[in-house]
């Protein structure tokens, strides 16, 4: 029980930590659907939920008998600290018989909370056990049924609970003995009972590899559940299926503003896109600005294109402005960048691709990187730093392109998917269907040096991964150490920032007056202002805010607000379906449908 928690804060013996980590990893692998915050897994015997004749040792994993052991009235049991969560799907633990003691009257099994502990498992209602002296199974009854072989010192007995069909089988030294119990009730605890002096058993709840190959058994059930899902009958005709799927994909592309891809998709699948193409592009443009950290321009553009939108959503406006302040600190917002040594609008390289890519489970290693590989689709900056695209070298870094001039070449929209895959090889391509692959953050105008390191004329997939690796985890710190300075190190810019901060403060007060106090706003503002308290904001406790990934949430909030204002769904149906499926699986866990363990969404997403 003491080991609860992820183990990340454990200190001391490294070997212990290693074991602990291995234990956690094994549990995570065996029971991926279990949310241990809601339903913790059994990890040891409970020092409270036991009869007095039971002694525990070795981190509450070893059980020994300390009673008189005269007759069955001296039997004693202990339960695990937690019941078996249904979301395990299939649960397994093993018990090693260290010593059979005087008579070897040992029972291994399961019992519900509250079952009398002065008994061996199996003798009472909601209690189930397999006994070593006669090899019988006891199913809530004082008389056993012939079940398996006897067991004694040195044997390893396993107990597997199948929460999908509510059965249980045992193993002996790695051999399955066949089903022992059916129709098991929920919320059972692993339980052992001893009855004569000298009996000692050790539990393995996953601390060590199991003798029996439980993962092989699980794989069979995973395959069963998957084929059940695959064969699930669907009423509709095939054609409608197809149309639904097309619409899902199309609406997803449109939602995120992958304009050219969406158009190409619509053309080939002959689906209709509800939204105007220009509207998609407008949203795309605003998103890009947000993701580039150019919040001021984004706000201007929004007000220009969707007048009244921000007025109707003061909270959103406040969020945007807060972010704008942060970006000023960062030196990315145009209001401070214009004080830079170079032409303010010249640096069109964005730290990250301007569109959100959906997150597909935590298994994706790119997720926590700050950079583009997660945002691999469609939209991209029109004008890249010339070192990356030697073909457009005429567009020198100083050849400015104001944000408003961000235009969208459609030159290759005929086959957008193809061009995505090969865009790196054709230098002229600057269309919006190219993939954005910049992996560095340009906090100020001095980014050229670092960009030269990673960018070259042709890129391949491997390079994405590689650059990703460079950027991973050190995004800000890397550059900040040398070139990062508050507001790009410009005094005038800093003054502008301070002034903006005051305006922001005023806006907050205004909102408080109009709508009452808003703790979220207060917190946001505090966090943003805190950045100024540190000499190196990028390496401070609130420095996380400066991370470009933090732009993504506000970007999608703004995008959703725009869509909502146009009477379009603020969530793409694909994401809704995905979220619903995820929610259903979690719901299954709560209503104790064990199959949820093998119906994981991420096993269907690649």
């Amino acid at each position: 029980m003491a080991e609860l928690g992820a183990g990340s804060l454990q200190v001391g013996d490294p070997a212990f930590n290693y074991q602990e980590r291995e234990f956690n990893e094994r549990l995570k692998r065996l029971y991926p659907a279990v949310n241990e915050e809601e339903t913790p897994l059994p990890r040891s015997w409970s020092p409270k939920d036991k009869y007095s004749y039971i002694g525990l040792s070795q981190n509450n994993l070893r059980v020994h008998y300390k009673g008189h052991g005269k007759n069955h009235k001296d039997a004693a049991s202990v339960r695990a600290a937690h019941p078996i969560p249904a979301a395990c799907g299939i649960y397994y633990f093993e018990v090693k018989i260290v010593s059979k003691g005087r008579d070897g009257y040992m029972g291994i099994g399961l019992s519900a909370q509250g079952v009398n502990m002065n008994r061996l498992p199996g003798w009472d209602k909601h209690s189930y056990g397999y006994h070593g002296d006669d090899g019988h199974s006891f199913c809530s009854s004082g008389t056993g049924q012939p079940y398996g072989p006897t067991f004694t010192t040195g044997d390893v007995i396993g107990c597997c609970v199948n929460l999908i069909n509510n059965t249980c089988f045992y193993t002996k030294n790695g051999h399955s003995l066949g089903v022992a119990f059916t129709d098991l009730p929920p919320n059972l605890y692993p339980t052992v009972g001893l009855q004569t002096p000298g009996e000692i058993v050790d539990a393995n709840f996953g601390q060590h590899p199991f003798v029996f190959d439980i993962e092989d058994y699980m794989s069979e059930w995973r395959a069963k559940i998957h084929s059940m899902i695959a064969r699930f009958p669907v009423g509709e005709r095939l054609g409608e299926w197809q149309a639904v799927l097309h619409n899902m994909v199309s609406s997803y592309l449109v939602h995120h503003g992958y304009c050219a891809t969406a158009m190409a998709f619509a053309r080939t699948t002959e689906t209709i896109i509800q939204e105007e193409q220009s509207s998609i592009k407008n949203r795309q443009r605003i998103q890009k600005l947000v993701l580039a950290g150019r919040l001021g321009e984004a706000i201007d553009a929004t007000q220009e294109l969707y007048p009244g939108l921000l007025e109707r959503n003061p909270n959103l406006l406040f969020m945007l402005k807060c972010r704008q302040f942060v970006e000023m600190v960062n030196g990315t917002d145009s209001e401070v960048r214009c004080f830079g040594t170079r032409s303010p609008k010249s640096q069109n390289s964005y730290p990250s691709s301007p569109s959100l890519s959906p997150r597909h489970g935590a298994t994706n290693p790119h997720l926590h990187t700050t950079d583009s590989p997660t945002c691999s689709n469609g939209v991209t900056s029109k004008n890249k730093s010339n070192s990356k695209y030697p073909g457009v070298s005429s567009a020198s870094s100083s050849s400015s392109s104001s944000p408003s001039s961000v235009n969208y070449s459609e030159s290759n929209s005929t086959d957008s998917t193809k061009s995505q895959a090969h865009s790196g090889t054709s230098n002229q391509e600057t269309s919006d269907s190219e993939m954005e692959i910049e992996a560095e953050h340009y906090t100020n105008g001095l980014a050229d040096a670092s960009s030269a390191r990673i960018v070259n004329g042709t890129y391949k997939h491997e390079e994405i991964l590689q650059t990703d690796g460079h950027g991973l985890g050190n995004g800000l710190a890397e550059d900040g150490s040398t070139s990062r300075q508050l507001c790009g190190g410009n005094l005038a810019a800093t003054e502008r920032m301070i002034q903006f901060g005051r305006e922001l403060q005023a806006l907050n007060e205004q909102l408080c007056r109009d709508y009452g106090k808003n703790p979220t706003h207060k917190k946001m503002l505090q966090d943003a202002f805190s950045l100024l308290a540190y000499a190196d904001p990028w390496n401070c406790p609130v420095g996380q805010q400066l991370d470009p990934t933090q732009r993504e949430s506000i970007c999608s909030a703004l995008n959703s607000a725009i869509l909502e204002s146009q009477n379009l769904p603020k969530q793409p149906p694909l994401m809704l379906a995905l979220a619903q499926a995820n929610e259903c699986v979690q719901l299954m866990a709560r209503v104790r449908a064990g199959s949820c363990s093998f119906a994981r969404i991420d096993s269907f997403l690649h």
């Binding site: 051999h175 066949g178 092989d216 069979e220």
Partner: protein, 680 residues
């Protein structure tokens, strides 16, 4: 029934169909090659899935013409390929089609075609060859006459996934004998096929796997090679283990388990290897479960029976794995009463597999109970087990009868079962019936079981004796098969043990001394041992000894002399000396030894033999000769003293002290007992 209805119809339709069919054949003879090609293509489209059309075309002689076109160098590659495709399609029809194709020498023609460079053509030829060879009517040896064929097929394995699939499938169907295994092995089958186990194509993987199962079956050479083979850096046994993972297709799990079973039985993998104990065995037990198809259950049970036959530990483990013993009881429930009413198709399916299921279950029970008494008890306690065996013994299917008697034999090794369930169910009755008229393999098992039933503590012994079994057993001793001779004489030996005079006389009469002495010179040592055992059992208790020796003494003494002089194992000589000791125990029979100085010399020399067992038996014999309480003991003692026996006895009492091993101690005490006869 369906046939009778269809027959007249078919005749009338045939004439119409043949007319159109003839048109297809005629076009094959067109002088314009382009038209011939079109004709072949049309023919291809016409025969697909149409068995009647296929039969017609064959009757009309399309095959020789197609083969001619296929072999003709002047034919275009396209035409030759299409010909091979049509022939492949024809082969997909009935077994008669295959026979006709084989009769037209399609196999050499297609094998010849494989020498062509064009992959499409090769694939078409291989596809057709595959279809022909997997048919049970095709003699598999047709693959082997030309020694260049196998190496060429091996070289084609690298061409495409299709060639891999077809060639491995041909191999796995054409490898039926140890010679075939050796041929394939010598041409590098293992190295060539092993990489295919990791093929991206499931079909190729499966056929490669099947190849290994037939190659390894009872072949130590192949199996020993297999264990050391690496596939992409992974040991082959580990590849097989991976293929037994529970989320793999059942067919793959089962075939991989077969491969490992065969490798284990061929001695390449130890029976206590984890890949056998923790992987192969549980996998095969799973194949026996109710969830599997009937065919899979049969194959699973048979393979499992084979795997654990020689190993008691595996038998013990299997007996507690997943309720296997109870699971097998389900094999006898086909066709189930429900299926008969519910579903005719299912009934048909059940009926077809019922025999196979029963025999597989019997085999597995036989294997499970081969060595462990607890397992036997568990088996006999299974519901209706003995009744099932009894009815299995008289089933029409030989396979079932054989398996049932094997099972009975396994269980008959249990003293407890012989005393209880065997007697309660009168299993001797169907067993005796089975012995009357059965093929040799059944007879071997049945007579072996009978041996156990005739053990003296078996309550079945009496009724069997009364059923006139002696004649039957005597006739077995005249069989050509050594196994049957052993069983016959063994059963007689058991029968004679502590039997009454009447039975002994009956045995001697029925067997006849001539046959008895013929058996004493049997080339099979086992037969000789059991015959000596029979003699020894016959020559027990004084009146019986004297009676038999008075009528057959001369021949018996001759036989004994012969054996003692001949080149025989210690066990045989010991048994013979024991017979001599029994003779020495008789009242009148003694004289046959005492008057035979040559024999006495022999006994004397065996008392000084280097083997304690022989010394013991010889001393025993002497001790019987000089026993005090009998008439004329004084003369015999004197005679032996003269011959120097006393000195030897004296030496034997001295030579050994009680701290030595048991038999030496026994010898010295026996010698002391003998010495006491002199002292008294």
């Amino acid at each position: 029934m369906a046939c009778m209805l269809e027959a007249p119809l078919r005749i009338s339709v045939l004439s119409e169909v043949t007319a159109t069919s003839r048109h297809y054949v005629d076009r094959l003879f067109d002088p314009d090659p382009q038209k011939v090609l079109q004709g072949v293509i049309d023919m291809k489209n016409a025969v697909i899935g149409n068995n009647k059309q296929k039969a017609n075309l064959i009757v009309l002689g399309a095959v020789p013409r197609l083969l001619y076109l296929l072999q003709q160098p002047s034919s275009s590659l396209e035409l030759r390929t299409e010909c091979a495709v049509v022939l492949g399609s024809l082969a997909m029809g009935t077994e008669n089609n295959i026979k006709s194709l084989v009769d037209c020498h399609i196999i050499p023609a297609l094998l010849q075609g494989l020498l062509c460079q064009d992959l499409c053509f090769i694939e078409a030829c291989l596809r057709c060859l595959r279809t022909v060879f997997i048919s049970p009517v095709t003699p598999v040896q047709l693959l082997y006459p030309d020694p260049t064929v196998i190496p060429h097929l091996m070289s084609l394995l690298s061409r495409s996934q299709r060639t891999q699939e077809y060639i491995t499938q041909i191999f796995s169907h054409c490898c039926k004998t140890p010679e075939h295994q050796t041929i394939l092995y010598n041409h590098g089958a293992i190295q060539n096929i092993a990489p295919l186990l990791n093929s991206p194509s499931y079909k190729v993987q499966m056929q490669a796997l099947k190849c290994f199962s037939v190659l390894a079956y009872e072949n130590a050479q192949v199996s020993m090679t297999l264990v050391n083979v690496l596939v992409d850096g992974e040991l082959l046994s580990q590849v097989f283990v991976r293929m037994m993972q529970r989320d793999r297709p059942i067919e793959m799990q089962l075939t991989a388990a077969k491969c490992l079973t065969y490798m284990c039985r061929a001695g390449a993998i130890r029976t206590d290897d984890t890949c056998i104990v923790l992987k192969t065995l549980p996998c095969l037990v799973r194949m026996c479960s109710k969830e599997r198809l009937l065919e899979e259950r049969v194959e699973g049970a048979e393979t499992l029976a084979y795997l654990m036959e020689p190993d008691v530990e595996l038998q013990r483990i299997a007996s507690v794995t997943d309720h296997l013993v109870a699971m097998l009881a389900d094999y006898f429930k086909y066709p189930s009463s429900v299926s008969a009413i519910a579903d005719i198709k299912r009934l048909d399916h059940d009926l077809k597999h019922a025999h196979e299921l029963r025999q597989a279950a019997f085999k597995l029970y036989a294997s499970l109970g081969a060595n462990d008494e607890d397992v036997r008890k568990k088996i006999t306690e299974t519901e209706n087990m003995m009744d099932r065996i009894v009815s299995g013994l008289s089933e029409s299917s030989i396979k079932v009868r054989l398996a049932a008697v094997r099972c009975l034999h396994s269980l008959s090794r249990s003293v407890q079962q012989l005393r209880t369930s065997f007697h309660d169910h009168a299993v001797w009755k169907p067993l005796m019936k089975l012995l009357q008229n059965a093929p040799d393999e059944v007879l071997v098992m049945a007579s072996s079981t009978l041996c156990n039933l005739l053990l003296e503590f078996s309550p079945s012994k009496e009724p069997i004796l009364e059923s006139g079994v002696i004649e039957l057993l005597c006739s077995l001793t005249q069989s050509d098969s050594p196994a049957l001779r052993v069983n016959g004489i063994w059963a007689l030996m058991n029968m004679a043990f502590q039997a009454d005079q009447k039975v002994k006389v009956e045995i001697v009469r029925a067997l006849g001394t001539e046959q008895l002495f013929r058996l004493l010179s049997d080339p099979d040592a086992n037969v000789l041992m059991k015959t000596l055992g029979l003699l020894r059992n016959l020559l027990s208790t004084r009146p019986h000894i004297d009676q038999i020796m008075s009528s057959h003494g001369k021949q018996i003494m001759q036989a004994v002399t012969l054996i003692l002089e001949g080149e025989h194992s210690i066990e045989v000589k010991e048994q013979t000396l024991c017979i001599l000791a029994n003779i020495a125990d008789g009242n009148t029979a003694k004289e046959l030894i005492m008057t035979n100085d040559d024999m006495l010399q022999k006994i004397k020399s065996y008392m000084g033999h280097s083997n304690v067992k022989l010394q013991l038996a010889a001393t025993f014999c002497v001790s019987n000769l000089i026993w005090n309480e009998e008439d004329g003991s004084q003369e015999r003692q004197d005679k032996l003293r003269e011959m120097g026996f006393v000195d030897i006895l004296h030496k034997l009492t001295q030579a050994s002290d009680p701290s030595l091993c048991d038999s030496l101690f026994l010898l010295s005490s026996r010698a002391k007992t003998a010495m006491q006869q002199y002292l008294a």
